[in-house]
């Protein structure tokens, strides 16, 4: 029966008419069967065509599987049987006004009226502000107290509201409410001029500029006849790895700072800047804005620059190794990291955690290895996972990825990097097509999915940031933990607010 979901390749365009459009009952049964057998949800979204709602799912086992169906006005919730669908179903309910009956946690995701002009599933009046108008889970009892944090935070970070239900210092439950940065990017992508698309996606989440840029470029390339050359692929891979390096190093430093162990915090703060500056050398922007474009990259790396980058990395590598040792071998730091914010493999599996957080909880999935694109097809990545699922495991995974990424960048800089630079262009997208791209951004599996209409316009642009899977993991990590350990757990995940808010 598995044949009813069709296998698709990462970053390949398909005629939509060739993809299975199942009756809803079959769709539900098949999707649940795949996920229950260990499959994961990559995309699960609704779109409207000719005024009719449809639902589309992209699942992954060791391959990518997809199918669509006509959406009923209400349907029995998938979440009741598979927790992974939880946030996806809420998103569908909010965006398209389709109610998942029996959903155990049906609350809004980003607080906006649905796109279809239907009655609101949550019964909200969108003239009112959010904070007082969200049904937070609450625990009652004599010694229970609630702590509300945010949406404005003390540090210079993004807005999000955290509601802790505590008994003394112990957290019984943490509820995370986001949506404060909802900009309507998915809708914007369908309306904006094609030329603007690369610039819009680069603004989805500043720390994942290259990740989003590459995911989008791959989708557009699949839908057009433009193909990046080998040099461009290598440069994109280098940029992705530099992004990973800068972010992981910055977070490791911040983790150290959160336990008041200052030397690594200071050194990593500086080294993060050094890595950002490498991206600056390549494209003139520290976060890689303006580097990746459909069809290739806008800046080449010539021999002289390659030599310079190599020199800097060789200089940084021993420093990074030294500070990592200083940090991860200090008993005080280990005492804080170990056993803090644990997400067990079972929970991680049910929630479908991705990226370093997933790998720290025993799920080895890495899109670079499982669904390689760009130059990753030529890179041999070892499987990397830890089983403890605590802050230490997440820090250790990141530390190991840092050393791996340095190795990858060094090896790539030795290759031929000649490429023909591309610039803005107008693209004619293939009509009535479907493409899904999956990339390993530094937080984990990042996926863009594009559906085009009969005229070659974008019918639906679905973006799924890895944080979409992982925020629930942070909630779980706080169960029964000390509230004072929250900042540490939070930093070890360091999830994106704007990536989820879109």
């Amino acid at each position: 029966m598995n044949g009813s979901f069709a296998e698709v390749s990462n970053g390949m365009a398909y005629r939509r008419s060739r993809l299975p459009l199942l009756p809803f009952d079959v769709f539900r049964r098949e999707a649940l069967a795949i996920v229950k057998a260990g499959g994961k949800v990559v995309q699960f979204f609704a779109y409207a065509e000719d005024g009719v709602d449809r639902i589309m799912a992209v699942l992954r086992t060791d391959k990518l599987l997809t199918a669509g169906c006509m959406a009923p006005a209400a349907y029995p919730s998938f979440t009741l049987e598979c927790e992974q669908f939880h946030l996806f179903e809420r998103e569908i309910a909010e965006q398209s006004g389709i109610r998942p009956e029996g959903h155990p946690w049906l609350k809004m995701v980003r607080y906006h009226p649905n796109y279809r002009g239907k009655p609101d599933v949550f019964g909200n009046d969108y003239q009112k502000d959010i904070p007082g108008n969200y049904p937070y889970y609450s625990v009652e009892g004599e010694e229970i107290h609630e702590v509300a944090v945010g949406p404005v935070h003390a540090g210079v970070i993004e807005p999000g509201h955290f509601r802790f239900n505590c008994i003394g210092e112990r957290v019984l439950h943490l509820e995370i409410q986001l949506g404060y940065q909802h900009r309507g990017i998915e809708v914007l992508m369908t309306q904006a001029d094609v030329k603007r698309l690369p610039i819009i996606v680069e603004g989805i989440a500043g720390d994942t500029t290259v990740g989003h840029g590459v995911s989008m470029a791959q989708a557009v390339e699949a839908l057009t006849s433009i193909r990046p050359d080998q040099g461009a692929k290598i440069i994109r891979t280098i940029a992705l790895e530099l992004e990973r390096l800068a972010n992981h190093i910055g977070d490791l430093g911040a983790l150290s700072g959160d336990v008041a162990f200052l030397p690594p915090a200071n050194y990593f703060g500086r080294i993060r800047g050094d890595f950002l500056n490498l991206t600056l050398l390549i494209c003139g922007n520290r976060f890689g804005k303006g580097l990746v474009r459909p069809g290739g990259v806008r800046f080449a790396i010539d021999g002289e620059l390659s030599w310079k980058l190599m020199g800097r990395i060789k200089e940084l590598e021993p420093q990074v190794r030294h500070v990592l040792d200083l940090m991860l071998q200090s008993p005080g730091v280990l005492g804080r990291f170990e056993g803090c914010g644990v997400v067990g493999t079972d929970d991680a599996e049910k929630l479908g955690l991705v990226g370093p957080a997933g790998r720290a909880s025993g799920l080895p999935y890495d899109a670079r290895r499982c669904f390689p694109k760009e130059y990753y097809t030529h890179i041999d990545l070892p499987e990397n996972r830890k089983s403890t699922g605590d802050v230490y495991a997440r820090a250790k995974i990141r530390a190991e990825e840092v050393m791996q990424s340095i190795k990858i960048v060094k090896s790539l800089l030795g290759r031929m990097l000649e490429t023909k630079c591309v610039d803005f262009g107008n693209f004619n997208l293939a009509p009535s097509s479907f493409v899904v791209t999956v990339n390993e951004a530094w937080r984990g599996e990042l996926s863009h999915c594009v559906l085009t209409d009969a005229a070659g316009g974008i019918l639906r642009y679905k973006i799924k940031d890895p944080s979409f899977h992982n925020w629930m993991g942070l909630s779980m990590a706080l169960r029964d933990a000390e509230i004072s350990d929250f900042p540490l757990s939070n930093k070890s995940f360091n999830l994106s607010y704007c990536g989820v808010d879109l």
Binding site: L262, G335, E482
Partner: protein, 306 residues
């Protein structure tokens, strides 16, 4: 008497300077330049020039908090012998009075924090009320040791002239314990790493800092000044114990005392640089180490006295 009062004023004036030494040491370990040594004076001047903002949900308790805490620590400082000179005030049993003056200051800080009805501040207040219980026990153990050695219940009897040297002669090894124990109390009472992190911006992990989040302007200035003086109070205690020399020359004594203070502040800075902060539930155990050390020091002297 005049000299004691002058020293008292001098100490209030230099306490922000010494606190900045810790920052310099930490900056050195972190490979930074760090803020200037006079940073805290700039901060205080800035704060005193500002206006205050009061939440409408607070009462007079909130406004009283900073005043009372500062007065409490200033009064306690009157009993502290500076550089081995006689303190301004001293009477038999004053050590107990001093401990409860500090307690009074803490009570009003906690009351002011609770007055804001902020969940953060309530949490900080709970922590601030809980941890000092252990400090107090340890402090009393140290005092018991001193009473055992000197037979007196006055701070001046332990720290003036060549008295500290006398303590060391009477019980050298137990005194080592007492100094370490006192240093742990110093770290805990002044919200230093590994008990608290004075540099963090994370409300959920703070102890002392979170209680003063709602104070602003001059009130915050008073609180900061109070914190510098409190740190100085404990450091002066420790400095006299580690540098018990009495040269007979006032200026030389003050010089040595100033150096010993630098040692204590410097050590605090080093501890902050090389240690990570403990988990919150580990802190009581850490403080109990301080109590145990003092307790053993006391038991050993009992044995010696026989």
């Amino acid at each position: 008497m005049i000299e004691s009062i002058l020293l008292w004023i001098l100490v209030i004036l230099v306490s922000p300077f010494y606190a900045a030494v810790i920052g310099k040491v930490k900056a050195f370990f972190g490979g930074k330049k760090g803020p200037p040594l006079f940073i805290h004076y700039y901060t205080l001047i800035k704060l005193f020039q500002k206006g205050s903002v009061y939440s409408v949900s607070t009462t007079f308790v909130f406004r009283m908090g900073p005043m009372v805490s500062l007065s409490a620590i200033l009064t306690a400082l009157l009993f502290m012998p500076i550089a081995g000179r006689m303190p301004v005030l001293s009477f038999n049993g004053d050590v107990i009075f001093i401990l409860y003056l500090l307690g009074l200051g803490r009570f009003f800080t906690i009351a002011a924090a609770m007055d804001t009805a902020s969940p953060f501040e309530g949490m900080g207040a709970a922590r601030e009320a809980f941890f000092p219980i252990f400090c107090e026990a340890a402090m009393f153990m140290i005092l018991l040791l001193f009473v055992q050695l000197t037979g007196e219940l006055r701070l001046a009897a332990y720290l003036t002239d060549s008295q500290p040297a006398g303590l060391w002669y009477a019980a050298g090894a137990p005194m080592l314990f007492a100094v370490v124990s006192l240093f742990i109390i110093l770290l805990a009472e002044n919200s230093r790493v590994p008990v608290d992190d004075p540099a963090t911006h994370l409300e959920l992990t703070m102890i002392h800092e979170v209680m003063v989040l709602d104070h602003s302007g001059p009130d915050l200035g008073l609180i900061e000044l109070g914190a510098f003086i409190k740190l100085f109070f404990f450091s002066a205690f420790a400095a006299r114990l580690i540098c018990p020399v009495d040269t007979g020359n006032l200026l030389l004594n003050i010089g040595l005392f100033a150096l010993a203070l630098l040692g204590v502040y410097g050590t605090t800075g080093i501890v902050e640089s090389i240690m990570a902060r403990y988990r919150m539930d580990f802190v009581p155990r850490f403080l109990l180490v301080s109590f145990s050390l003092a307790f053993f020091a006391f038991v050993i002297t009992l044995e010696l006295a026989k």
